[in-house]
Symmetry: C2
Subunit: 456 residues, 2 copies
């Protein structure tokens, strides 16, 4: 009954070196989250379906993985749906639980459920996998990690300032230079829509504007026209298409365009505050850039919108994003909790570090020393030394059988173990160890104390 | 549309302090795994159903969480099962994936699938959640972590020796004294069954024997009789019921009982090897104990069987276990891969450390210093200092708004933040910081350099 083993499409096994590289990124992000005062929480992998359904739009609902009820689940099946074989309608009667689709909705649920234990403002981070029944493609998986940090219970703009610094801190720690943190503000977008008389077409407008980089000015204008935005309105946008120069000079142009919009001016004021603070505090590796076309998750964000681009030489989408949402917990009945947060795209950051060769060499280091096994007596003598080495924090092991020397040396080579220790009759008698440096090919006879210093 | 938020039964949210405590245990175990030369792998949360189904017995099959296919899943439903509303039979036609039930079967699948990349013997560890549709009860959850270390591709008994040392190392690092590592050998159990003429009743025999502690000698004998084991056979067992004394003296009694069983003597020889090595190497906190009644997972183990008991003062079941299985990967068509491994029970270890008050005090430490916010100018000055503190590895944050002083101090207290910094007009002018020790109530005026040294 042997089966040819495989895993579901869109999922991945991670080998030791891949786990080590992923943990290097996770640990860097986690470390930064903690120095910035964020605290970890974890939520269950599956939630009650009603917690998730209806929170991500129709497309989201379709992409949520549902878990079949246990036991005789058909006994509670919706009769009408069953008789008409309506999959969509039947689901809620045979499935009560669903896999987490993102970390934001479970976080909102957590905040509401634990509101009496939480001390607000609450700065939480969460690094956990999510699942989406998306069509798998290059860089898109059905199981992937999200790394989120959010603050709820404060509408202070200092949080936005902190998040920009947090991004900078993480990318500096990862030695990733040339990252651009793009920022926009929902209020600027609604201000523009207001000014051109398209407030009721805000989404159409921003969807079109968002394509400026890809399809160019003319095509964007055509799309806006086709969506019913007036030629007159579009003309007023002209300065927008040629926005360039420094953060400050772009802000100046925007101030002119938005002079008549209260909302728009508020957005500019917020951006100016953030920009001023950041220029006072300074960024180490990243650059802050105003991008008026930035509109991601528009229905959701109410203030700042962030998106992080990888260095230009790497052709990859955004490696992070976030923003402010004024009503995170309203869906669960808790009003007026302003939240702001950012996310890191683990898989894409991994690809970027790989492409730029930025993983530290030591990430691959697993075992530092392998003791060759010449027989039970030698093995026991070796294990006594190995015990001491491990207590000193050195990753050490004994080859498990007294196999041929060549086989054991090959094993050490294949595993990139940098040192090998040989213990025979002579070494036991003299309480010494023959240490072989696998890179240089040299070998020395050393005491246990020297062995520790050499390997540390 | 507000919903009263809740989570599925048998699942848990983890608050920051709980995450910190769990990570303390995870990191301790992970650190020990790595110093012993184990390498991490990760496998997907869900596997193809055929990978898991049929591997854990009928009960296991029922307890596996199945994931409903996406889209119009009923279009491929098994017609007969659908028409007869047979839940059990329908499942495989509407669900192709299932959540991981343990880490061993996915590991076996991984080894077979990646056999050409793996350098054997392969020492892997894996710390990931598993899911079981079990009835939730105290200490039993539907989502919980397993922490496994296994070696495949070596039948050397040095591995068993290493695993006992590994247990000792972890419990020493956790400062958990009084742990007992119980060991048995499947060959001893089959030897005993052979000697009393009940080889074909090995399972009945061991199930009964396993209850010795709980129901006593007489009841165990009754159960054996009722299962068809002869009176004569049971009499031969008499010395077994009174086995006591040291490891060595118990082994002597066993040698007499098992004198005629080749298998049994082999088991004794293996145990003697392990016991001798361990007494040479020494254990720091744990005690190794022979327990002939130990039979866990019998159908699975072929050699050593381990089980770890918490210190006697804590009334809780086993906190770990494992053993050797000679055919780990046979189910996936790869023969003759001997494996041996152990597991740590995270949730129970957590309860034990909690009960014995063994979590280090620092585990709770999140933010070391909160800067009180007196307004934008002071906040900016503070953030410049905070940036320097963070670069020095100190977890620091700014209260996000210029709220009333009392509110900000209360916030620091509620979050157990040990230090607060006050920056006003005077401090800005003199480039100093007023540091308040929240425990002692004292405060000092210090330079930035002093602030760093004080907080480090």
């Amino acid at each position: 009954m042997a089966q040819k083993p495989s895993i579901p499409k869109g999922t991945r096994d991670f080998t030791p070196i891949e786990v080590a590289k992923r943990n290097y990124i996770f640990n860097t992000i986690r470390g930064a989250f903690e120095t910035f005062g964020f605290q970890p929480i974890e939520t269950p992998s599956f939630e009650n379906s009603e917690t998730l359904m209806g929170k991500y739009g129709d497309e989201g609902d379709r992409l949520i993985f549902k878990i079949l009820n246990s036991g005789d689940y058909l006994s509670k099946a919706n009769t009408e749906a069953y008789n008409t074989k309506d999959s969509n309608k039947l689901t809620s009667s045979i499935s009560e639980k669903a896999l987490r689709y993102d970390l934001t909705v479970p976080f909102a649920r957590y905040v509401v459920q634990h509101q009496n234990e939480i001390e607000f403002p609450f700065k939480r981070y969460q690094i956990q996998p999510v699942w989406r029944a998306d069509r798998p493609q290059k860089g898109r998986f059905r199981e992937f990690y999200q790394c989120d940090a959010d603050v709820v219970g404060s509408d202070s703009l200092w949080q936005e300032v902190e998040f920009i610094q947090l991004y900078d801190t993480v990318f500096k720690a990862l030695k990733l230079e040339g990252v651009t943190i793009k920022i926009n503000n929902r209020k600027i977008l609604s201000g523009i829509a207001e000014v051109i008389g398209a407030s009721n077409k805000l989404i159409d407008f921003t969807v079109a504007l968002d394509k400026l980089d890809k399809i160019g000015e003319e095509k964007v204008k055509e799309e806006m026209l086709s969506k019913g935005i007036s030629q007159d309105g579009i003309s007023k946008l002209q300065p927008l298409f040629s926005l360039s120069g420094s953060f400050e000079s772009q802000m100046e142009s925007l101030r002119t365009i938005l002079a008549t919009s209260k909302d728009g001016l508020k957005g500019i004021e917020e951006l100016a505050f953030i920009n001023l603070a950041i220029s006072e505090l300074g960024l180490t590796t990243a650059t802050l850039q105003l991008d008026v076309t930035l509109a991601r998750g528009l229905n959701y964000y109410t203030g700042a919108i962030f998106e992080v681009s990888a260095p230009q030489e790497v052709k990859i989408g955004s490696i992070g994003g976030g923003g402010r949402y004024d009503d995170l917990t309203g869906i669960f009945g808790m009003k007026d909790m302003s939240g702001v947060g950012i996310s890191f795209g683990l898989d894409r950051i991994y690809l970027v570090l790989e492409e730029l060769n930025l993983f530290p060499e030591t990430v691959n280091k697993s075992v530092e020393v392998l003791f060759i096994n010449f027989g039970d007596k030698e093995a026991l003598f070796s294990l006594k030394a190995i015990k001491v080495l491990r207590e000193a924090g050195i990753n050490a092991e004994l080859y498990p059988e007294a196999a041929k020397m060549k086989k054991q040396m090959t094993h050490a080579n294949r595993r990139n173990i940098p040192f090998v220790v040989l213990v025979g009759e002579e070494e036991i008698t003299s309480s010494t160890y023959t240490l072989k440096d696998m890179t240089l090919g040299e070998q020395y006879k050393v005491s246990l104390q020297d062995l520790i210093s050499k390997l540390k």
